[in-house]
């Protein structure tokens, strides 16, 4: 029953490096995507840095995980959004966003979809659960 499927939203609000929240949060997304739930992910506040392309953690001496975002669509996580205001406040544009997969038919790269804060708020209001990382 489609109406019984729980809507679970992940918000990513912290910067990707410096703490482990965002990385372990990614692990939760990948697991939950295997279950019968309606999963969406929103990058906002400093979380928008997590989906900035060209990240290189080599000099930090830690294993980066930006490449895993490139496989979100393969994990059937397709509802991936970025808050426009958060992005612009940090000097980022849509061109700075990394690719999260490619379209099965056209092989066109898929990027997170940029939304206005009000649109994100409306989506939040529909969720059963919101997990913040």
């Amino acid at each position: 029953m489609a109406e019984d499927i729980k809507k679970i939203m992940f918000t990513v609000r912290k910067p990707p490096h410096g703490t482990i929240y965002v990385y372990e949060g990614l692990e939760v997304k990948l697991i939950m995507a295997a279950y019968d739930a309606d999963i969406s992910v929103v990058f906002m506040d400093d979380g928008v840095f997590a989906v900035k392309k060209g990240q290189d953690t080599k000099d930090l001496g830690i294993k980066g995980f930006a490449a895993t975002y490139g496989a979100l669509v393969d994990y059937e996580i397709t509802q991936v959004y970025v808050d426009r205001q958060s992005m612009e406040d940090r000097g980022m544009t849509e061109d700075d966003l990394l690719v999260i997969g490619e379209d099965e038919d056209t092989e066109e790269p898929i990027k997170p979809q940029v939304l206005e804060s009000a649109e994100i708020a409306a989506m939040m209001a529909e969720q059963h659960n919101i997990l913040a990382f």
Binding site: H128, L131, A132
Partner: protein, 118 residues
């Protein structure tokens, strides 16, 4: 209401564990059902029997263990635990190590999943 609780932060260092504990006690008193408690990130440190706080302070892991003894399912994330050296041998009684699938089931089965942490 059916509630599930997820705790992100370690004990003593951060109020999240205390706040979650107080929330759960209040929820039970109000007649709500706790579907489960899930420890993630540094939260996995909350249920080690190796902690030995001063006697005049609260004993956080014993407190969680007592809650587990009352029948509430308390789960420690295996991936987060392994990374931090938390294994079965160091856990207090009445808690168990399992996977993120358990958090998923809590999120699906509960009316609300309440997260404590930064």
């Amino acid at each position: 209401m059916k509630l599930a609780v997820c705790i992100y932060e370690g004990p003593y260092n951060h109020a999240a564990s205390d706040t979650a504990y107080n929330f759960i006690q209040a929820a039970i008193q109000k007649g709500h059902e706790i579907k489960g408690i899930f420890f993630y990130h540094d939260g996995v440190y909350n249920v080690t029997k190796l902690m030995e706080p001063p006697q005049d302070d609260r004993h956080i892991s014993n407190r969680w263990s007592a809650l587990g003894a009352s029948g509430i399912d308390i789960v420690v994330c295996i991936a987060a635990a392994k990374r931090r050296g938390i294994v079965d041998d160091v856990l207090v009684p009445n808690v168990r190590i399992s996977g993120l699938g358990q958090l998923t089931m809590m999120a699906i089965e509960a009316d609300r999943l309440v997260v404590f942490g930064d």
